[in-house]
Amino acid sequence: MFITFAIISLLIKESMLLRIVRVAVPSYKVRGQPAQLDCDYELGDDILYSVKWYRDNEEFYRYMPKFDPPKHAYKLDGIKVDLLKSDDRRVILHPVTLKSTGQYRCEVSAEAPSFASAAGEGRMEVIYLPREGPRITGNQQENRRGDSMFLNCTSGRSYPAAILSWDIDGEKVTDPALLVEYPPIQHQHGLVSTALGLRVPTGRTMQVRCTARVAPSWREGSEAVVGNSQLADSKEAMLLVKNSSGGCTLNVMLLTLSFIQLLSSLMQLET
């Protein structure tokens, strides 16, 4: 699956003038991969003065023909420009890190006298998928009467944060009275883990499952995109709860019933 990036073109009144044809910035990149940023423009009658790349308004690469050398990269945290592969219309970042996330803008300026300028931009997110599944932990002390018990589910470290959900016997728990939310836990390198608590009514034997999902869902319409891509990841932990009649002892068996890892493939669409 390829994520189609918005093409920003500045239509200038006359074709004779400088205009940006396309600025292509990949929306998501998994950490460690290279990323190519494209800036396609038409100079018209103008002579090129400069091509400048900014991440969040900080210049990290420029191409100025009159300068020697014309290519110049500036040090920015999370930016590592492959100068050899970069030129006046593209920039190669290799590899991307979590700190590479940001708004990338290409600004092209013509030479004197007009110094007509045009710019285009796009946002790139760098994600980190969890290496381990969620873990379910219980606390038998929770309810002495034995009519309920309390479980916690904690996800593995990821970026962005995993989204946890509980289902009992295949049915998703939505009752907020049964769910207990916790603030996310920050880890090194910007990684985040999350936790979700569940009150489990007792008295019968049941199958309890916790699902941790990581997807760049913070962009509109990303859910669908994520489902088809290598950028999504879903892992589960399952627990069988047995009820011994009359007894208040609780046998908790922690079982990892299945471990499913979905690796989304990164689609790069080059239109």
């Binding site: 400088l18 308004n57 420029r62 500036y74 708004q103 300026s109 110094f115 007509a116 300028s117």
Partner: protein, 847 residues
């Protein structure tokens, strides 16, 4: 639009107008540092852009200015291959054109924009390309401020107050509306009093007008010329728009003072009274009031600064005493602004004196014996220190014995007599002067009384001679009716009214005695509304006869060869008389000189006498009936000797001798006198028969006189009546000469004997010895004569001598006469008997 400000001011304004607001929106595209800059319409603005490289070895190569998202820069600053001082500049003609200029050398570097227009507002971006460093992008949010219009100040009637010349009144409330039109952003409209904000509440109306309504209560003196400023401001980049209203305030006067409050003023003098008032604006109106009546056109006003001086020309009148003089100052523009100062006038004046007769007295009904009082009312300031009373301009003194009582303000006259009648006045004095009252006339009514010195007169008349007797009486009222009576020998008869006519207080009786019986006392009675005259006016009508002896003769002056002799004449016997002096040489007793005079009183001067001669002087009165008894001055020696008088010779005697001598002398003189009378009458009869105006023969007189053999030197004062008679009548000559029968004398020329009336002159008529009608008058006459002489020195005479038109002119020497004269120095000059004769009968006795 404002005039362009000086450039340096604009720069500073621009510098202060920058507010850098750096917003870092992580995860957002807008992380460009942004500064807010304001510019004022029409003025300069500067958009900052920091082009300083981060490293010293770096350098700016290019600065580009963009507006909003425009691709084309509006300004470029290119120093590639150039020096800093010579950049390649370019300004887009469609944006700023030549209004923009980039000052790369400034810190921070700025894009200067001239004459800012409203469309210049927006977000600008400056891109700075460095030689080495990363490009710098900076944003400037530029807003354009449109100043408001100049404020307009209206009052409540929506009149432009700054163009109105209408002061506020002190204490009034000032309502001012400040209106400001337009302004982006909408201005703050603030009221200042001088430099202090007094009202910063304003209202923004939807029509673009911003209003601040100022209510400024109770403006006072301290606000005069205060500056009320309405200020409209929507930026501190440009001076605020202001409108100033200078408060003009009508002020009330604060003080008013009469400067010259003298303790007292004098009536009718001119004073300049000054009154000063301060504090009024415009100048106070000063008015003067006297007891709530305004004094107009009597003051002059002078104004200077905030002071007004009013000078009143005041002539205090008496009635102003105690009145309030008020100086009132007010500002005519401010109701109830008048203030006053008062001065109670203390007017000093000459006492005003009013005299009234006692209120319960009827001035027309005051009779003698009544009590009268006057009340003097004095109005004076200061108090009088003296009150004086006058009666006919003579001061009156307190005298209880006379019934004159002066008390505080009144005069009491007890039991008034008619002499109290007249004009009365009182006079009071104080420090201002003397004031005299109106005169009040006191009229006293009384029954008629004889006019003073007019009663009891002796008249001699010949038979058939008509005498006019004037009976004048004093009376009040003067309307008097008269009646006359004739009294002879105790019988009183009323005279018929046809004999007399009366006019006012005078009645004139024309009386013609035809017989002896018709000589006697004529009495005149007046009567007015008060009553009848109690004591009548008496006229003694006697038959004309010899004159009476001269009295009081003396040598008044004496020199070596001259003598001057004076006498006092007596009754002329009813006929004209002359006076005779005879000088008899001693011791021969020969008549040496004979001097006559008709001068009255008689006096003689004899000159050319031999020195050392000694004389006796015989003195006589002579009329047609004969010569009077002699009066002798013994032994006058010339050559400067002291004069001799009878009295002085008598003084040499011892008292015993003197009395004996006097007794004998009186006896002798009485006898001599009687004889002399007889003689004279006899002589007169013969001599006066021929003619009515027969002149008296001097020679005859001389002979007769010389025949008196027994001159007597006597002291008549000591003589008794009987003794006195003797010597006078002793002279045989006089006895012979005496012709007692009046009938012998023609009726034309009556001899007038001294009647009994002459006696009664000296005593009440009832006491007098009446001469009986038909009786031989001779003894009567002699007796009367003697009586007269006796009375002369015993009774102070109240009667006066009247000579009715008879002339006594010149002394005529009638020849030397030898006769002893009785010197009667005791008889005072005033004691002359009163003798009246009708003038038309006898003019000259001795011609």
């Amino acid at each position: 639009m404002k005039a362009r400000k000086p450039e340096h001011l604009a720069k500073s304004i621009v510098a202060t107008g920058i507010k850098i607001k750096v917003i870092f929106n992580k995860g957002n595209t807008e992380t460009v540092p942004t500064s807010d800059v304001q510019g004022v319409l029409g003025k300069k603005a500067s958009l900052p852009c920091d082009i300083q490289p981060l490293h010293a070895d770096d350098a700016v190569v290019m600065v580009l200015w963009f507006k909003e998202s425009d691709g084309e820069p509006l300004y470029s600053y290119d120093i590639r291959g150039r020096s800093y001082t010579q950049p390649k500049l370019w300004s887009s003609p469609t944006v700023f054109g030549n209004r923009a200029f980039f000052r790369g050398g400034a810190t921070p570097a700025v894009l200067m924009i001239d004459n800012v227009a409203a469309v210049d507002a927006g977000v600008y971006r400056c891109r700075v390309d460095f030689k080495n460093s990363p490009t710098r992008n900076l944003k400037v949010n530029f807003s354009v401020i449109i100043p408001p219009s100049r404020p307009t100040i209206y009052d409540a009637k929506r009149r432009d107050r700054t163009k109105l010349v209408e002061p506020y009144n002190e204490g009034s409330n000032v309502l001012l509306i400040c209106e400001v039109e337009g302004g982006v952003p909408r201005p703050r409209v603030t009221w200042y009093l001088e430099n202090v904000v007094i009202d910063d509440s304003y209202e923004q109306r939807s029509d673009g007008i911003t209003i601040n309504t100022l209510t400024f209560p109770n403006v006072g003196r301290q606000h005069l010329n205060a500056r009320l400023v309405c200020q409209a401001s929507n930026t501190n980049l440009a001076p605020p728009e202001t409108k100033v209203l200078i408060l003009d305030i009508n002020l009330k006067p604060i003080t008013v003072t009469i400067l010259t409050k003298e303790k007292q003023v004098s009536a009718d003098k001119r004073y300049e009274v000054e009154c000063k008032t301060t504090g009024s604006r415009p100048e106070a109106t000063v008015t003067w009031w006297k007891n709530n009546r305004q004094l107009k056109r009597m003051a002059k006003n002078f104004s200077e600064n905030n002071e007004t001086l009013s000078v009143l020309s005041l002539v205090p009148a008496v009635e102003d005493d105690g009145r309030q003089l008020t100086c009132r100052a007010e500002n005519k523009h401010i109701p109830d602004s008048a203030i006053e100062d008062k001065w109670r006038l203390n007017v000093h004046y000459v006492p005003i004196v009013d005299l009234k007769m006692g209120s319960n007295l009827n001035p027309n009904e005051i009779k003698e014996g009544d009590d009268v009082y006057f009340e003097c009312t004095v109005k004076a300031n200061p108090k009088t220190h003296r009150l004086v009373w006058f009666h006919d301009n003579s001061e009156i003194f307190h005298n209880e014995a006379l019934g004159v009582i002066l008390s505080a303000q009144s005069l009491v006259l007890q039991s008034v007599t008619r002499r109290a009648a007249g004009d009365y006045a009182c006079m009071a004095a104080n420090s201002e002067g003397k004031g005299t009252s109106n005169p009040v006339t006191l009229q006293i009514r009384y029954a008629p009384v004889c006019a003073e010195r007019k009663d009891n007169e002796l008249y001699g008349a010949l038979k058939h001679e008509t005498v006019s007797l004037h009976c004048a009486v004093d009376a009040n009222p003067a309307l008097v009716s008269f009646h006359w009576t004739f009294n002879n020998s105790g019988e009183q008869t009323d005279l018929p009214p046809r004999f007399y006519n009366s006019h006012g207080n005078i009645s004139t009786l024309n009386y013609t005695p035809t017989s002896d019986m018709e000589y006697g006392t004529l009495a005149c009675y007046g009567e007015n509304s008060v009553g009848q005259q109690k004591v009548p006016c008496l006229f003694q009508l006697v038959i004309a006869g010899r004159p009476l002896q001269l009295q009081n003769c003396s040598v008044a002056n004496q020199s070596v060869d001259a003598l001057y002799v004076e006498c006092v004449e007596s009754f002329d016997g009813g006929l004209p008389q002359t006076f005779l002096l005879e000088l008899l040489e001693l011791p021969s007793l020969k008549v040496r000189y004979n001097v006559s005079t008709s001068r009255s009183p008689p006096s003689w001067e004899v000159r050319g006498l031999p020195a050392g001669a000694r004389y006796r002087l015989d003195l006589y009165a002579v009329n047609a009936k004969g010569r009077s008894d002699v009066t002798t001055i013994e032994t006058v020696t010339l050559r400067g000797q002291a004069k001799y008088t009878g009295e002085s010779s008598a003084l040499g005697m011892s008292p015993v001798l003197a009395s004996v001598a006097a007794m004998s002398a009186l006896l002798a003189s009485a006898v001599c006198g009687a004889l002399a009378v007889l003689y004279r009458r006899h002589a007169a009869r013969h001599r006066h028969l021929p003619a009515k105006h027969a002149p008296l023969s001097e020679a005859m007189y001389g002979e007769r006189a010389g025949q008196c053999p027994t001159p007597v030197k006597a002291e008549p004062a000591l003589a008794s009546p009987s003794e006195a008679r003797g010597p006078l009548l002793r002279s045989p000559d006089s006895r012979e000469a005496d012709d007692a029968d009046p009938d012998i004398i023609p009726s034309l020329y009556e001899r007038r004997p001294v009647s009994n009336g002459y006696m009664s002159l000296q005593r009440p008529p009832t006491a007098s010895k009446p001469s009986k009608p038909g009786e031989d008058p001779e003894p009567d006459a002699a007796g009367f004569y003697a009586d007269l002489r006796k009375k002369d020195y015993k009774i102070p005479l109240t009667s006066s001598y009247h000579s009715l038109g008879r002339a006594h002119k010149g002394g005529v020497a009638c020849g030397a006469g030898a006769g002893a004269a009785v010197t009667s120095s005791l008889t005072a000059h005033r004691l002359r008997p009163e003798v009246v004769t009708t003038s038309h009968r006898v003019q000259e006795s001795c011609i």
